[in-house]
C-alpha cells in the first residue's frame, strides 16, 4: 500500500518544513547519514554534502534551483567499491535518480542501504545565473517558488529544465511533492516503495485521505490534474526544441561544423555527464596519441587539418556510446566553456535512439541497457541495405 501524507508548512517556510523532516530521519536513527544539497558559506552556491548529524541542517536546501554536479556521479564515487552497511538517505532530483539507475545497471553504483528521497523538481538555473541572483540579494529558491505559484514561464531556467518531461521523481523510496500542491501550506510526502512506507510508519503525519474531510486542505485530484497539465506544457516545449534542431541540422556536415566550431576539445561535457562512466575515456587514451609524421600525413591529404584534431569524432563517438542512456540533464551544456548547445543535440539524438528500443533511461532497474541485449527477431531491415 502506498502511503501518502502531508507535511504541514508554517508561515510558507517550505525549506524549513522539509528540513525538519530530514532532521527527524537523523534523530530517529532511520538513516545514519544524509546526502543533501547544502548552501556553501559564501551563500552563492549549493553543493551536495554528506551529513552525519543535524549541525548545519539550517543550510540544507533541497529545493535550491541549482545543480552543479549530478549526485548520480557522487553516489557512484561513494558506492562503487563497497555499498553502505547502514541506511543513508540521499535527496535527489528526478534526473539524478534516473542517471543513478543507469549507473547501477552499468555496475557503477549500488543502491544497497540507500534511502532515495526524490523531490519534485521545479527546474534549476545555471550555476552562474544562480550566483548572480544571490549577488543581487535575492533568494533563488523563494523566487522560483513564487514564479512557479504564479504559473508564469521562467525562461531563465536552464534549457534542460525548461523541456524536462520527468519533473516528478520515479524509483524513489519517498517523494516530496510540490507540483500541484499548495506548498505554502502543505507538502506531499509519498512512499514509492516498501522501504519508504516503513520509514513513514515512524511519523505521525496526517494521511492525505484524512485531509479531504478534516484539517488542512489537500486535494489529491487537483495534484494529478496540475501534474498532467504541467507535463504537457513541458512536452510541448521539448517538441518545439526538437523541431528547431531538425531545421538546424538540415545542413548536414556544414551545420555540424558550425555548431561545434568553438569546441576547444576540453572534454568537460564528458567529465560532468553522469552517464560517461568509463574510468579511462577512449578519447583520452593512447589511441589518440600520434607521432609528428602522422599529422603531416593527414595534413598533406587535405592540404591542411584543424588542430586540435578529432573534436567531431569525440562528440559523435560519445553519442554512439551513451545516447541510449542520456537522461537529458543538460549538465554537459552547463559545463561547456564555449556555450555549445549540447543539451539540444544530445537530447534529440538520444530521444530518437531510445525510441527505437522503447527504452526510457532510469525507468526500470530490471530493463536491460539496449546495447547489452538483443532480440533475435528485430531490426530485420538492418543487413538488407
Amino acid at each position: 500500500m502506498k502511503k501518502e501524507v502531508v507535511i504541514e508548512v508554517k508561515d510558507a517556510r517550505v525549506k524549513e518544513a522539509i528540513n525538519s523532516f530530514l532532521e527527524s530521519l537523523l534523530e530517529k536513527n532511520l538513516v545514519s547519514a544524509l546526502l543533501v544539497p547544502r548552501e556553501v558559506p559564501s551563500k552563492d552556491n549549493v553543493v551536495q554534502s554528506l551529513m552525519t548529524n543535524s549541525n548545519g541542517l539550517k543550510e540544507v536546501n533541497v529545493i535550491s534551483p541549482v545543480l552543479p554536479v549530478s549526485s548520480a556521479r557522487i553516489i557512484s564515487e561513494m558506492t562503487r567499491l563497497s555499498s553502505y552497511k547502514n541506511p543513508v538517505g540521499v535527496v535527489l532530483r528526478s534526473c539524478e535518480i534516473r542517471a543513478l539507475i543507469e549507473l547501477v545497471k552499468l555496475k557503477q553504483a549500488s543502491l544497497d542501504n540507500l534511502l532515495i528521497i526524490g523531490v519534485d523538481c521545479l527546474g534549476t538555473y545555471s550555476v552562474s545565473d544562480y550566483q548572480n541572483l544571490c549577488k543581487q540579494g535575492n533568494s533563488p529558491s523563494d523566487e522560483l517558488l513564487r514564479k512557479f505559484k504564479e504559473g508564469g514561464e521562467d525562461t531563465k531556467l536552464r534549457k534542460a529544465c525548461q523541456v524536462c518531461e520527468y519533473p516528478i521523481p520515479s524509483n524513489a523510496d519517498l517523494v516530496i511533492g510540490l507540483i500541484g500542491v499548495d506548498f505554502e501550506k502543505n507538502i506531499l510526502l509519498k512512499s514509492g516503495t516498501e522501504k519508504g512506507e516503513k520509514i513513514l510508519e515512524n511519523f505521525s503525519f496526517l494521511p492525505v485521505r484524512a485531509c479531504t474531510q478534516t484539517g488542512p486542505e489537500f486535494n489529491q485530484s487537483k495534484r494529478e490534474e496540475s501534474v498532467s497539465k504541467y507535463l504537457s506544457k513541458k512536452i510541448e516545449k521539448r517538441d518545439a526544441l526538437f523541431s528547431e534542431m531538425k531545421e538546424e541540422t538540415s545542413g548536414g556536415w556544414e551545420n555540424l561544423l558550425s555548431v561545434f566550431s568553438t569546441c576547444i576539445n576540453c572534454h568537460n561535457c564528458m567529465r560532468v555527464c553522469p552517464l560517461c562512466y568509463c574510468r579511462e575515456c577512449f578519447f583520452e587514451s593512447p589511441t589518440f596519441e600520434f607521432g609528428s609524421e602522422k599529422y603531416l600525413l593527414w595534413a598533406k591529404r587535405k592540404g591542411s587539418i584543424k588542430m586540435p584534431r578529432d573534436t567531431i569524432l569525440f562528440h559523435l563517438g560519445r553519442m554512439s556510446h551513451m545516447a541510449t542512456s542520456c537522461v537529458g540533464c543538460g549538465l554537459c551544456e552547463q559545463a561547456c566553456p564555449s556555450n555549445i548547445p549540447l543539451l539540444k543535440i544530445f537530447k534529440m539524438v538520444s530521444y530518437k535512439v531510445q525510441q527505437i528500443f522503447k527504452y526510457v533511461p532510469g525507468r526500470d532497474l530490471e530493463e536491460p541497457l539496449p546495447l547489452t541485449t538483443f532480440k533475435e527477431d528485430e531490426l530485420r531491415s538492418v543487413g538488407e541495405e
Binding site: L256, S261, S304, S320, A323, V353, L371, F374, V382, E385
Partner: protein
C-alpha cells in the same frame, strides 16, 4: 565524376565474411576492387568509433560483414552489432548526415557470390552518391 572510384573500408568477421571473401577470390568471381578489408574476430567487435573514424577520414563507405543471425561464432556478437549499427545510423540521420554510407551484411563462409554481389552493389550505390563530402572540410 565519371571515373570516381569510391573507397570502402570493410570490417569482415574472421569466421564468415572474411572466408566468404576468400572464397570469392578462389572461385575467381569478379567484383570491384573498391573495398579495403580489415579482418576482425567478430562483427560485434566493431565499435561505432572505428566506423566514424573511417568516415571522418574520408572513406566513401564502411562495410561490415558478419555471420547470419543465429550463426555467430560467439553466439550473439552479430545481434549486438545490429543494435549498434542501428544506433549509429539513427545518430547520423538525426544530425542530417547520410547513413547510407554504412552498410552491414550477413555473409557466410560459403557465400562467395553473395560477398562479391554485396561489394558490387555498395560500390555502385556509392558511385551514385558521389565522394564523401567530409574531404571538403579541412576543419573536420
Amino acid at each position: 565524376m565519371a571515373n570516381f572510384e569510391p573507397k570502402i573500408v570493410g570490417f569482415l568477421c574472421n569466421w564468415c565474411t572474411y572466408a566468404g571473401a576468400d572464397l570469392a577470390g578462389t572461385s575467381r568471381i569478379q567484383y570491384p576492387p573498391n573495398i579495403r578489408p580489415i579482418r576482425v574476430m567478430c562483427s560485434g567487435s566493431v565499435d561505432s568509433v572505428y566506423i566514424l573514424r573511417a568516415l571522418l577520414e574520408g572513406a566513401d563507405g564502411v562495410f561490415i560483414g558478419g555471420c547470419h543471425p543465429g550463426d555467430c561464432h560467439y553466439v550473439s556478437g552479430n545481434y549486438k552489432e545490429r543494435r549498434r549499427i542501428t544506433v549509429l545510423k539513427s545518430i547520423l540521420k538525426s544530425l542530417g548526415l547520410d547513413d547510407g554510407r554504412v552498410w552491414i551484411r550477413w555473409v557466410s563462409a560459403s557465400e562467395g557470390k553473395r560477398y562479391a554481389d554485396s561489394i558490387s552493389e555498395m560500390t555502385s550505390h556509392l558511385k551514385r552518391l558521389g565522394p564523401n563530402p567530409v574531404s571538403k572540410y579541412w576543419s573536420l
